[in-house]
Symmetry: C2
Subunit: 218 residues, 2 copies
């Protein structure tokens, strides 16, 4: 599979997408809650095993029919895209908190409540999860500025532990040099600035070529 | 909460830990399968909603009693630790693939099968998830070498897309300068080298002080 498979398949109308979001959003939210319950539960073995049987039954229902490949990034008929399988922002991905990235005056930002399933050091968000959120929001800033790419280099400087709880991540494009987009950003909590990042984003040549061919923003 | 809360609480014997792992491991594995089912399912709305009701029932069972805080890192009576809530390696954390980090001759390494719930670009592991795995295995290398720390700086250079499927991550300590441990590593797939990383790990002063007080390796 190449990096742009799935970009053009399964285009849907805004109405279809709204209906799908209303169906899959609550399912995914229920699984997110279950993830946290799994990390935090302190019930007796009998209840653990009963819960597990219910979970297996739910999975069997869902597995009766699966999509043939990973979700990918799918175009909509209005030219927007949905990354519903994405591990940071995916509406259908329970691993994603999800981050909902918004854009104001060139700044991409997201706020989220980060629970115990994202822990690394005791009480703190895992350093790699901090990197995941920063990678996503930096990439979104590049994308929104019209100079998108895949991550070429990501550097994260951790200034203090990022406490579990409310976080804000934000980023903007610092500069563009040829095919490279340099984005910078940070994560903060009520404790203040926790981590800073710089990312260099580069669009793979095959995607640039496809973009020219289709006449669509990539 | 400070970074070392939970380090000393809830010490258990190897037998107790084995019994807990036999209980919570399969529960977590079932939730991991459910996460993938949630991303990939293509069943009808009725089955989606039936599955959701089962998931909510399971979560209610588990939520009848919860631990008071996040899992943290807990000591065992034999001096080892369990990071069962950890987002990359946690036995009780469905978000973790999990990575199981092993150590050979100073090299920390982990192999895992990475499914569609870790997707970023179509067909590829999310760049931030690549960073998560590298952060974890670099940190494990530092820890195992007796020079552990929290991540101070993490730099990841992406050489090519990391295809979903089997991956191997590995790292070793390159050098130690004062309180800083420099670890380097990479991720590879059957496609070859996909990403390289350098991490600088520093143990917070309060943890160093606690280690001296308790006489335990930190």
């Amino acid at each position: 599979m190449s990096v742009f498979d799935g970009h053009t398949a399964d285009a849907k109308t805004p109405e279809e997408i709204e209906a799908e979001a209303a169906l899959f959003g609550p399912l995914t939210q229920s699984v997110r809650a279950l993830i946290e319950s799994t990390v935090m539960t302190d019930v007796d073995p009998d209840d653990i095993n009963r819960a597990r049987a219910l979970i297996d039954e739910a999975a069997a229902l869902l597995d009766a029919k699966r999509m043939p490949g990973p979700f990918g990034v799918r175009w909509n008929t209005d030219g927007s895209r949905r990354s519903w399988g994405n591990a940071a922002v995916g509406l259908r991905n329970p691993i994603a908190p999800p981050l909902t990235v918004r854009h104001d005056d060139g700044v991409a930002w997201a706020e989220a409540e980060i629970g115990p399933a994202y822990e690394g050091p005791p009480g703190l968000v895992h350093g790699g999860i901090v990197a995941l959120f920063l990678d996503q929001v930096l990439g979104a800033a590049a994308d929104h500025a019209g100079v998108p790419g895949m991550t070429g280099t990501l550097t994260v400087r951790y200034r203090k532990g990022t406490r579990l709880g409310p976080i804000r991540a934000q980023a903007h494009v610092d500069r563009v040099e040829g095919v490279k987009t340099f984005a910078v950003g940070h994560i903060e909590t009520p404790d203040g600035l926790c981590a800073e990042a710089e990312g260099i984003f580069v669009l793979p040549k095959e995607v640039r070529d496809l973009g020219e061919k289709l006449g669509r923003p990539q």
